[in-house]
């Protein structure tokens, strides 16, 4: 349980709009000190907006954010040197890599041993001190710049580190380094991390909790599949369905109000393959081809991605059940779950 004391952030009735267009609505959300939270969600769902708000780099249109139990606002002293944000498009100051990383240290008057701190930070993101420290801001490739920006944040050893897509345009090896650096920050300095990313696998391997944002709302804690519409009334009474084109369809109980989005939360449901033919009306039978099998290291569970006509769904199976299924990519299987397991948001 999250106690009041170990809540580093608390959000209350937060709403943010740009030019009157609401983009984020979070009634109540807390972040635990020393945890790593993953933020996922489609483009424009509000991840960056949330991170900017948490970084006190943006004033919310409404509501408040508590940091360490107190309401804080942009530029307030209590957050300034404690919360650090890596923005989605990293901006480097017009100076050398060295000076970019040194900047945050210098304004904190932590100029002792500058070079060794910077060397360490560059190491964390896999850049060679000798090769890169004297490069100027524009003499870097896209991924290198991204990593320098991250190093400039890591070097501060902040209480909170907000990372907005730290691995976009970063190579696989560096993505792994960034994962390690994040874990190290958490374990060594007790840093709280909140990381937005589209790399779902990368994120799931590192985060203690995942939040999915959808159209400005925090949907759930966990991993889920959004089933895009259109949904139409089903022949079956009291149900709606999403046609899959090949004659099959996904069935669901109708949404409370029209226009809502359907999702399947994979943490809430137990999936099974349809060995016995269950003919209850509201049971979904989805036949599709396995395209991926991926080990979720932390839990040991296996994530199975199923391609069904034009949509892809990912489900989670405990690893002990998987070996019996004799699954391999390319195999066609049928999954069964109740129409009532589809949630509406």
């Amino acid at each position: 349980m999250m106690t009041a004391r170990n809540r580093i952030f608390e959000i209350r009735n937060l709403a943010h709009s740009y030019n009157g267009r609401p983009v984020l609505l979070v009634d109540d959300l807390a972040f635990e000190r020393g945890s790593i939270t993953g933020l996922t969600g489609p483009n424009g769902s509000g991840k960056s907006t949330l991170l900017k708000l948490l970084g006190f780099a943006l004033k919310p249109s409404q509501g408040e954010i508590l940091f360490n139990g107190r309401v804080q606002v942009p530029y307030s002293r209590a957050v300034r040197s404690k919360v650090t944000l890596l923005t989605q498009e990293p901006y480097l100051l017009k100076r050398t890599v060295f000076d970019n990383i040194a900047y945050g240290l210098k304004i904190r008057n932590r100029s002792a041993d500058l070079a060794s701190h910077i060397r360490e930070a560059l190491d964390l993101v896999g850049l060679d001190f000798k090769e890169f420290s004297q490069r100027r801001w524009h003499e870097l490739s896209g991924g290198e710049a991204q990593r320098v920006a991250l190093a400039a944040r890591l070097v501060l050893k902040p209480e909170v580190l907000l990372l907005d897509e730290p691995t976009a345009s970063v190579d696989v090896k560096s993505a792994k380094l960034i994962r390690n650096a994040s874990l190290q920050a958490k374990n060594t300095w007790g840093t709280t991390l909140i990381i937005a990313s589209h790399d779902w696998h990368w994120l799931s391997e590192i985060s203690d909790r995942q939040l999915h944002i959808f159209k400005g709302q925090v949907v759930s804690a966990g991993m889920e599949n959004i089933i895009p519409g259109p949904w139409a009334p089903s022949d079956l009474p009291g149900l709606v369905e999403r046609s899959l084109g090949n004659g099959a369809a996904i069935k669901a109980v109708p949404p409370p109000t029209p226009g809502m989005t359907a999702l399947i939360n994979i943490d809430h449901i137990h999936f099974k393959t349809c060995d016995t033919h269950d003919d209850s009306v509201d049971e979904n039978h989805l036949t599709g081809m396995v395209t991926r099998l991926i080990l979720e290291r932390k839990t040991g569970d296996i994530l199975i991605t199923l391609s069904i006509h034009d949509i892809q769904l990912t489900f989670k199976f405990p690893s002990n059940t998987i070996s019996n299924l004799e699954l391999f990519p390319g195999k066609t299987i049928t999954l069964c779950f109740s129409a009532r397991h589809i949630e509406w948001i």
């Binding site: 970084g55 780099a57 530029y75 650090t84 923005t87 100051l93 945050g104 304004i107």
Partner: protein, 228 residues
């Protein structure tokens, strides 16, 4: 046309001979323009920063006023300053009339809007990423100002150079406040005006060339600050 050539020759003669009259005007010009540049940069950069960086009510109106101040005629500024520092004025006791300090005050008023207005529009156009980055790295107010100005240093240089050109070439203030007193408050530009008034066009051209040479030297020594 002929006076252009003879002016050019005279300029060289004046420089070589080290004519003390010319040097006194050069010294006055340098002194007064340095002071006014320091003051106008000191005031104009922060003001320009605030106008460009923050969004507040009335900001657009303030920008329009500032742009209007760009069109303060020098004679007008001269009169204004004179009104304050003449012996009947509220600051008459400071004895600033007919002094270089008095001129510098007026030139500061002249250069301030230039520095502030150009700085504001440069700051206004900085990448929003810079703002976010500074706040996210924990910069306070002072560091935000300094770093932002440093980020746009080439633009600031242009603002400063423009203001310097204005200060160096103005006549109205120097004439009205300084009085064009030989050996004392005669600057290059009032000297040029005097020579031209006397019909000594070639002298005017010669002094003008020397003034341009001063500007060139200053700009040359600043050009190391330029983007490569």
């Amino acid at each position: 046309m002929d006076f252009l050539l003879s002016g050019f020759i005279k300029a060289i003669e004046l420089l070589i001979s080290g004519d003390s009259y010319t040097w006194s005007a050069v010294a006055a010009t340098l002194k007064v323009s340095s002071i006014s540049m320091l003051l106008s940069l000191g005031a104009g950069l922060p003001c320009g920063f605030i106008l460009g960086y923050f969004n507040f009510r009335g900001k657009r109106a303030l920008r329009t006023v500032l742009d209007t101040l760009l069109a303060l005629p020098t004679v007008f500024i001269g009169l204004l300053v004179y009104a304050f520092i003449s012996s009947k004025g509220p600051m008459g006791s400071f004895n600033l009339l007919f002094t270089l300090t008095g001129i510098a005050v007026g030139q500061t008023i002249l250069a301030f809007p230039i520095v502030a207005a150009i700085t504001a529009s440069i700051i206004e156009n900085i990448d929003p990423g810079l703002k976010l980055t500074l706040i996210s790295l924990g910069a306070g107010k002072r560091n935000t100002i300094l770093t932002c100005l440093w980020e746009v240093r080439y633009g600031i240089l242009a603002a400063a150079v423009t203001a310097y050109g204005r200060v160096l070439t103005e006549v109205g203030i120097s004439m009205m406040v300084g009085g064009n007193i030989k050996w004392h408050t005669r600057t290059m530009t009032t000297a040029i005006a005097l020579e031209t008034g006397k019909g000594m066009f070639s002298n005017g051209i010669a002094l003008g060339l020397i003034l341009i040479l001063i500007a060139f030297t200053v700009n040359l020594s600043l050009s190391f600050l330029r983007k490569k």
